[in-house]
Each structure stands twice: as structure tokens, then as C-alpha cells.
């Protein structure tokens, strides 16, 4: 008997198990993206992807390399149907297609495993996979899914028990489930977005061998990363993106880490800043053998010891993901410390709260501006008050002085050039990225703090705003503030810093005087080369 409901739910695809009949020829171009442009009008003024052309062939692992914000993830999201390109063409196995949804992409044989897993934690592995099956209905036997999961696990050595609950699995196993979820549809092309960011080294090794066996099976793998070692170890070809543009596509065997770093960070023009030699002040920040754990419990900051003095800018250079974020969070009280000590103006601040750090005179310009730097549902004036709302003269015995706050906010708006329709009535949500950053700079810097921790302070700003920020930092330095500047932009690091520390895999590789080094040397250290 045919169950009418089942029939209804089964419409469309006849690939109940997603088996693809054709065998893939090695070297065949599976997926080709031509002249892809993506813009986010109103959010960013520049193009996020600027005429990028990119292809994946059967049997290869193609790495997509670039710094944060280079456009890697946006590219992947376009190929897998999460975003629509503003213009450009996509060809799958020689046929032009338009991909309107992740479902379309899967139907065309393109699957993506996301950076953060999208699994339902209390369900089992098989149940999670069944969730994504469009043909799934109440009569679809889970045992069938389980059987196929076992089959796929065996074929690629992806060991996962289909009956295990996701919440009981390690990060590496969850990653494997995420890949299995995609493999279930037998994609020609598998896209992985920074899959090792949550994995332990051995787990990463296992993943690499799985990916190699999938490539050997004739699939094309797109591997997104900003880690050079992974590119060198794993990939057959590598494409480098910088600021939305494709710099080059190379055979991995014909390039070197050093060349890749140069392509990632671009030509660095050193503009020697004319500035007075600021009088070195007392030690503002001192870290003694600091150890901090990352999100998944793996060590992110691994024994860092540095000092920053008043009147000095210490630049922290490094490819993203080498512990800079965790370092910044630890020295502003936002993240717990595993071992080591944080001294601020001689006072031991290890394990203290964000408020204690603020009271000690630490300003924090956070990397995630909208997520932690602003309350988007509140007004401009209220956002400017985040540090000062409990301090006189804005607050008297707990009661806020609205007119004084208005005056102050008005001053900040004109001094820092924040473009906002009003002070009290419009939600900060509608402010552009640049104006959000000006708001944060105004809030964190107007009191001329003694110690400034700035993470990517000019990222995404236009040229004028960048200049303004740099002038501001120089002026504060001249007045004796100590500044720790974390940036991926080497030009900024060289233009602003007195000394440059390079961070690699949670450690400080070396600290150099800005005048005694050059971008090439720093670039090599960023790539992890020992000198």
C-alpha cells in the first residue's frame, strides 16, 4: 500500500539515498566560479568579493587562503547557496547553474561543512543526519540512515557511532558528523570552512587523512583556512584572497610559505611617522608567563611574557587565530586565566572582573564591535555611557543626569565625527560599521586612559577614519598612555608601533624595535619560520 503522505513528502528528487551514478574523472573541472562579485550595500562601501574566479577539480584539495575579512567565507557561502552573488557565474561540471539555496547546492553536488557545527546536541548522529534529509518523513527508517552512516564511515575512515548522542562527542567527532551530514548526499565538491579551528592536533591529522582519501575517491575539496602549515601540508593548489580580490592561484608544490604570507598581507609600504620620542613611563602592563585556554579548552595563549610602558605602543602582529583574541580577552578581564599573572600598574589583576580592569584605567576596543562593543537595541547616548553611567558627574547617587549625558554625547558626536540621526531615540543597530567603531573609540578614549588595549581598531574603516584613529593614538601616546595594538594590518603595525611582537601559535616569537626590523622579517615570523 502506498502511503499518500509519504508520496507527498517524497516529491521531487528520486535519489532516496543520494547515490550518484557517474564516476568522476580525475582533473575534471567540477565547479567553476567566474567573476564573482559580492557587495553588502549599506554595510560596507567596498566590494566584499571583487571579480573572483576560482575552480575545483576532481581529485584535488584546493586551499582558499586569506586573512580574516579577505572574503573566504563569503565565497564559500556563495558556492554552497547561503548567499547569492551580486554578479558572476557559477558552472557545475561545465553547465551554468544558479544556486538559490543550500538545497540547490546539495542537489548540484556541492556540500559545505561549516566552521561552527550546526548539530542538535541531544539527538543521535543518525537523527541529526536524518533531520537534513528532505525526503525524511515519519516512515523513513532510521536504521537505513544508520546503515549508510556506517558505510560512509568505513569508506573514509570517519569513525563515528551513528547511535551516539552528539553532546557526548568530542569536538573532533562533531566535526566528523558535520562532514558525514554533507557526505550523505554524495557531493562532488566538499567545502570545509576552517575545520581545524576547534580541533586538537591529532584530530586535525585524522581529518587530513580523511580528506585525502575523499580526494583520492575523485571528489574536489575546497579547504578554507588562514593557517599556512595546513595549506602546505594538505593542498594540491592554493588560491590567495586579499581584501576580496584573488591575488593568485598556485600549485602548492611550486610556492613557499614566505611567498604565501607576502600574498596574504600584500605590499607593506612603511610610512615612517614623524613623531617625538615620547618619554617612557612606568610599566603599565606586565604579563608573566600567561596561559589562557581557547573556546574548546585547548591552549590559546601559551606562556606569554611582555611589558608595555607608558608612552609606548606595542604592536602585536600575527595571522589571525594564533591566540591574539584570547590574549586581549584575558588582559581585559573578559576571559579567565589558566596560569601566569597579569600586572597592571603594578597591581595583580589576575582573575579580576572586567569592571576591576576598567577601574584600574584599562580601555578596551574590542575586536567584535557589534557583539560585545555595543548594545544595538539601545540609543547612541546610552551606548556612549557604558563606561561612565555609574560615575559622577553623569550619575549622582545612582540617578542619571540625562541633560549632562546629552551634552557629553553631543560633544563626542562632533569630536569623533559619529554620524547618527539623534542621541536618544534611534537604536544603535542602524549605525554603519564605521560609525559603530567611532562610537566605541569615543567611549573608550575620551577620558585619555592610562592603558589602551585595542584589537583591530581600524579594520573596515575608511581612509580618513583610519588616519583620525592613528592621530588619536599618537596623541594619547604622547600624553603618556600605554597602548597594546593588535592588528593583522602590517602597515598599521609598522606605522604605529614602537616595538613589534609577533604572535604564533599562542607564543610570542620575538619582540623587535620597529626601526630594527622590516615587514619581510615580521612576515616570516608570522609564518612560523624560525630565524
Amino acid at each position: 500500500m502506498v502511503n499518500p503522505l509519504r508520496k507527498l513528502l517524497f516529491r521531487g528528487s528520486s535519489r532516496e539515498n543520494g547515490q550518484r551514478p557517474t564516476k568522476l574523472e580525475k582533473g575534471e573541472v567540477l565547479l567553476r566560479a567566474e567573476g564573482i562579485v559580492k557587495e553588502f550595500p549599506g554595510v560596507w562601501t567596498h566590494l566584499i568579493l571583487d571579480h573572483v574566479t576560482f575552480d575545483v577539480r576532481a581529485g584535488e584539495i584546493h586551499a582558499l587562503l586569506g586573512e580574516n575579512g579577505a572574503g573566504k567565507t563569503v565565497m564559500a557561502n556563495i558556492l554552497s547557496g547561503f548567499y547569492m552573488p551580486s554578479s558572476g557565474q557559477i558552472h557545475v561540471r561545465g553547465r551554468q547553474v544558479s544556486i538559490n539555496s543550500p538545497k540547490d547546492a546539495l542537489r548540484l553536488g556541492i556540500g559545505m561543512a561549516h566552521q561552527e557545527t550546526t548539530l542538535v546536541r541531544p539527538l543521535t548522529v543518525a537523527e541529526n543526519i536524518a533531520l537534513g534529509i528532505s525526503e525524511f518523513d515519519l516512515s523513513y527508517p532510521l536504521s537505513k540512515v544508520e546503515r549508510r552512516v556506517r558505510e560512509l564511515s568505513q569508506r573514509y575512515g570517519l569513525e563515528v557511532d551513528p547511535r551516539a548522542r552528539v553532546e557526548d562527542l568530542s569536538a573532533g567527532e562533531q566535526q566528523r558528523v558535520e562532514i558525514l551530514k554533507t557526505l550523505y548526499y554524495e557531493p562532488y565538491v566538499l567545502i570545509l570552512d576552517e575545520p581545524t579551528s576547534v580541533l586538537a592536533p591529532q584530530e586535525a591529522e585524522q581529518l587530513f587523512s580523511i580528506l585525502r582519501s575523499m580526494a583520492a575517491d575523485g571528489r574536489g575539496i575546497v579547504y578554507i583556512t588562514h593557517k599556512l602549515e595546513e595549506v602546505m601540508e594538505l593542498s594540491d593548489r592554493v588560491s590567495v584572497l586579499r581584501l576580496g580580490k584573488l591575488v593568485a592561484t598556485k600549485q602548492t608544490s611550486q610556492t613557499t610559505k614566505e611567498e604565501l604570507v607576502r600574498m596574504m598581507i600584500g605590499d607593506v609600504a612603511i610610512t615612517p611617522t614623524k613623531r617625538g620620542r615620547a618619554k617612557k613611563g612606568e610599566v603599565a602592563l606586565e604579563l608573566r608567563d600567561l596561559h589562557v585556554l581557547g573556546a574548546e579548552g585547548s591552549p590559546a595563549v601559551d606562556g606569554v611574557s611582555i611589558q608595555v610602558r607608558g608612552g609606548e605602543i606595542l604592536g602585536i602582529a600575527g595571522v589571525a587565530g594564533n591566540g591574539q583574541r584570547e590574549l586581549v580577552e584575558a588582559i581585559t578581564g573578559m576571559r579567565g586565566v589558566e596560569a601566569g599573572r597579569i600586572l597592571i600598574f603594578g597591581e595583580d589583576m589576575t582573575g579580576r572582573s572586567p569592571r576591576a580592569f576598567a577601574d584600574q584605567g584599562v580601555s578596551h576596543i574590542p575586536e567584535e564591535r557589534r557583539r560585545i562593543g555595543t548594545a544595538e537595541g539601545m540609543s547612541l547616548a546610552e551606548n556612549l555611557m557604558m563606561r561612565d553611567y555609574r560615575l559622577p558627574p553623569f550619575s549622582k547617587r545612582g540617578v542619571l543626569d540625562r541633560s549632562l549625558i546629552s551634552q557629553h554625547a553631543q560633544r563626542m558626536v562632533s569630536e569623533f565625527g559619529i554620524m547618527a540621526p539623534d542621541l536618544w531615540d534611534t537604536e544603535a543597530r542602524i549605525l554603519s560599521g564605521g560609525n559603530i567603531q567611532r562610537l566605541i573609540l569615543a567611549r573608550e578614549l575620551w577620558r585619555e586612559p592610562r592603558l589602551i588595549i585595542a584589537a583591530h581598531p581600524t579594520y573596515g574603516l575608511d581612509l580618513k577614519a583610519v588616519q583620525h584613529t592613528h592621530e588619536l593614538f599618537s596623541r594619547l601616546r604622547g600624553k603618556g598612555s600605554a597602548i597594546l595594538l593588535v592588528s593583522e594590518d602590517l602597515e598599521e603595525i609598522f606605522a604605529m608601533s614602537d616595538r613589534i611582537a609577533v604572535m604564533f601559535r599562542g607564543k610570542i616569537v620575538d619582540v623587535k624595535g620597529a626601526r630594527e626590523t622590516n615587514p619581510d622579517e615580521i612576515g616570516l615570523m608570522m609564518a612560523g619560520s624560525q630565524i
Binding site: 548567499y83 572586567p354 557583539r371 560585545i372 537595541g377 539601545m378 546610552e382 553611567y389 545612582g398
Partner: protein
């Protein structure tokens, strides 16, 4: 100033539209049951706002809703889904009876003491749920639902065995004359002024003090609040405490300020659901303490006028419940549409 006016209008528009939708769908419902919706609504609104007497009754109905709405609204401002008002209200009523009905105090002082007792008992009842959330991370929806039931049976037990009216076993001891708010007319008493003053005080706390700022910041973006150095435990405690005081006052208002019974029956019939109705009132009032006052007047009017609709046109008073429900759904619709739109916008 005109910008201010516009933004106020913008925030008032959704509930007004939702109310219109609710009334419209209610009319369709009446039609489908063979009643004349025009006559129904005329009876409803004449009954609720048609005369000074009608206004007094409607306001009497709305008084407890203003403060149970505050409980939910303050919770939402802080990002907590606090649905504890029902239980706090029962406890507050018990507190009001304990002091207002069983202790003799001089006039004036007695009223103040009984009101304070209602609020304090309500506030204390908030502590277990608050502490569970602060120390063990127990979600407030789960804990408050359980505490609501505990309060229900506990107060029922008190009425049966400890605060029973010696003359009439089916109810608790009524508030003494010295602990009753002066009657303004009909069922309306002076307690409404206390309730409105409380709403205004909460408005001031939320929008003009550092504590209120912390609370709203934590509600808008917990990560930013942490960054700004806000203590979550303090925010949770404060939110629950205000919620408890507010709902306690709601319970007290039904004992010390609601003729003719001035007490609670052993079924809790005259208190039942006032706390949960506060959630709808808060939503219509856009989770704003002043908005809650106006929304409560509307809901109170519906509750009172519904009886006239049944009496004069034959539409059962439960229709009011249906209209209330449709209004809340209509109010939620724009948010749902916004989410759909956002998903589409991201794709393009």
C-alpha cells in the same frame, strides 16, 4: 521634541494595529456564530467605558493587571522570561490577609503595614527562583512555573487552615475596616493610586537610574553588559525582586482594595489568572511601565464590558478571552515577519 513624538508614535502603532486586528477577527467570529458584531461591540464598550460608573469598574478590573504586567515587563527588559507573577500574587494576597485581616493596628498605619506586607511577601517569594538562577543557572521559566504551583497550593492550605474566616469557612478573613483603601465608587478604591505610583517609580528606575541602565543593558546584549562590568547576579536579583514586589502588590490590591469581598475565596477564584493576564498586558504595553498602565485599562475594560456583551447581545463573555488571544498573536506577527524578512535579506 517632534522626533521624540514620532518615535513614541512608532512604538505605539503596533499594539494599536494589533488591537484593531483582534477586534476585527472577533467581529468575524461573532458573525460566524450568528451574532451582530456591531451590537456586540457597542454593548461591550458602552459597558466598559460608557459612563463614569463603567469607567470605575473597568479601572477596578485593570488595577491588578497594571502591576502583574510590570513583573513581566521588567523581566523582559532584563532579558528574563519571568512568568512568576501568578504565584507572587497569591503570596501577596496571603500576606495582605495576615496583616490586614488578623492584626489590629491603628487606622492609616494598618493600611500601610498591610500593603507593605503584601509586597514584601511577594518579594521574598521571588528569592528562591532568583537564587536558583544566580547560583545554579536554573532557567526562570521552569522554576517560576513550579513556584507558581507551590504558591497556589500553599495559599489554598493557608486559607483552609490558618487564615480562614471564622464565620465563613469558604473564604479567608477579610481585611479589617482599618486596612481597607477608601472606596472611590463601585469596586474602585484608592489602591489604584498606589499601583500607578508604583508603575511610575519603576519607569524612573528603569530609565533614569544606573541600576535600570544595567538591567536594560543586560537585557539588550549580555555580552556587552559583561564588557561594561555589569554584575549579572545583581541584575537577576533586582529583576526578580521588583517582579515579586509588583505582583505582591497586585495580590494585596485584591484584598485591601477590592469591595465587596475584601478577601480571597478558597478556590482563589477572584485572583486566578491575574498574573498570567499581566503577560498579555505587558506585551500590549510594549514592556514599558507606562505602557502597561494604558494596556491594563484596555484589558480591564474588556473584562468588565464582556459581561454586558453577554447580557445584552448574548455573545458569551468568553469571546473577550478569544479577542485577547488574537490581539497577542497579532502583536507577535510583525516580529515573525521581521525574522522571515531578515532571513531573505541575508540571502540577497
Amino acid at each position: 521634541m517632534s522626533e521624540r513624538l514620532w518615535s513614541t508614535l512608532r512604538s505605539v502603532a503596533p499594539p494599536v494595529v494589533a488591537i484593531a486586528v483582534g477586534l476585527f477577527v472577533g467581529a468575524l467570529l461573532m458573525l460566524s456564530f450568528g451574532f451582530d458584531p456591531v451590537r456586540g461591540y457597542v454593548a461591550l464598550f458602552r459597558g466598559s467605558y460608557g459612563s463614569p460608573e463603567a469607567w470605575m469598574e473597568s479601572l477596578a478590573f485593570s488595577t491588578p493587571l497594571m502591576v502583574t504586567a510590570i513583573t513581566f515587563a521588567v523581566g523582559m527588559s532584563a532579558g528574563l522570561f519571568n512568568i512568576c507573577a501568578e504565584g507572587h500574587m497569591y503570596m501577596g494576597a496571603a500576606g495582605a490577609i495576615a496583616v490586614g485581616g488578623m492584626v489590629s493596628l491603628p487606622p492609616g498605619l494598618h493600611l500601610v503595614a498591610a500593603t507593605a506586607a503584601a509586597m514584601l511577601v511577594g518579594g521574598l517569594w521571588a528569592l528562591p527562583a532568583a537564587l536558583l538562577k544566580m547560583w545554579r543557572g536554573v532557567h526562570e521559566v521552569v522554576s517560576t512555573i513550579m513556584f507558581n504551583w507551590i504558591a497556589f497550593w500553599f495559599v489554598l492550605y493557608l486559607i483552609r487552615f490558618h487564615i480562614t474566616d471564622p464565620g465563613r469557612a469558604e473564604r479567608a478573613t477579610p481585611a479589617m475596616i482599618t486596612a481597607r483603601y477608601p472606596v472611590l465608587g463601585g469596586s474602585l478604591t484608592g489602591v489604584i493610586f498606589v499601583v500607578i505610583a508604583f508603575c511610575v517609580a519603576i519607569y524612573f528606575l528603569l530609565w533614569h537610574t544606573g541600576l535600570g541602565y544595567e538591567l536594560r543593558l543586560a537585557g539588550d546584549n549580555p555580552d556587552a553588559a559583561r564588557y561594561a562590568g555589569v554584575s549579572f547576579r545583581r541584575v537577576i536579583l533586582l529583576t526578580f525582586l521588583i517582579g515579586g514586589l509588583a505582583a505582591g502588590l497586585a495580590g494585596g490590591s485584591q484584598i485591601l482594595g477590592r469591595p465587596p469581598s475584601w478577601t480571597v475565596y478558597a478556590t482563589l477564584g477572584n485572583l486566578l489568572n491575574l498574573g498570567f493576564q499581566g503577560i498579555g498586558v505587558a506585551l500590549i504595553g510594549r514592556n514599558h511601565p507606562i505602557g502597561a498602565i494604558f494596556a491594563a485599562v484596555f484589558f480591564g475594560g474588556l473584562a468588565h464590558g464582556g459581561r454586558f456583551m453577554e447580557y445584552e447581545v448574548g455573545v458569551s463573555a468568553e469571546m473577550v478571552g478569544a479577542i485577547n488571544g488574537i490581539i497577542v498573536i497579532a502583536l507577535a506577527l510583525p516580529e515573525i515577519l521581521r525574522i522571515v524578512k531578515r532571513v531573505r535579506a541575508v540571502k540577497e
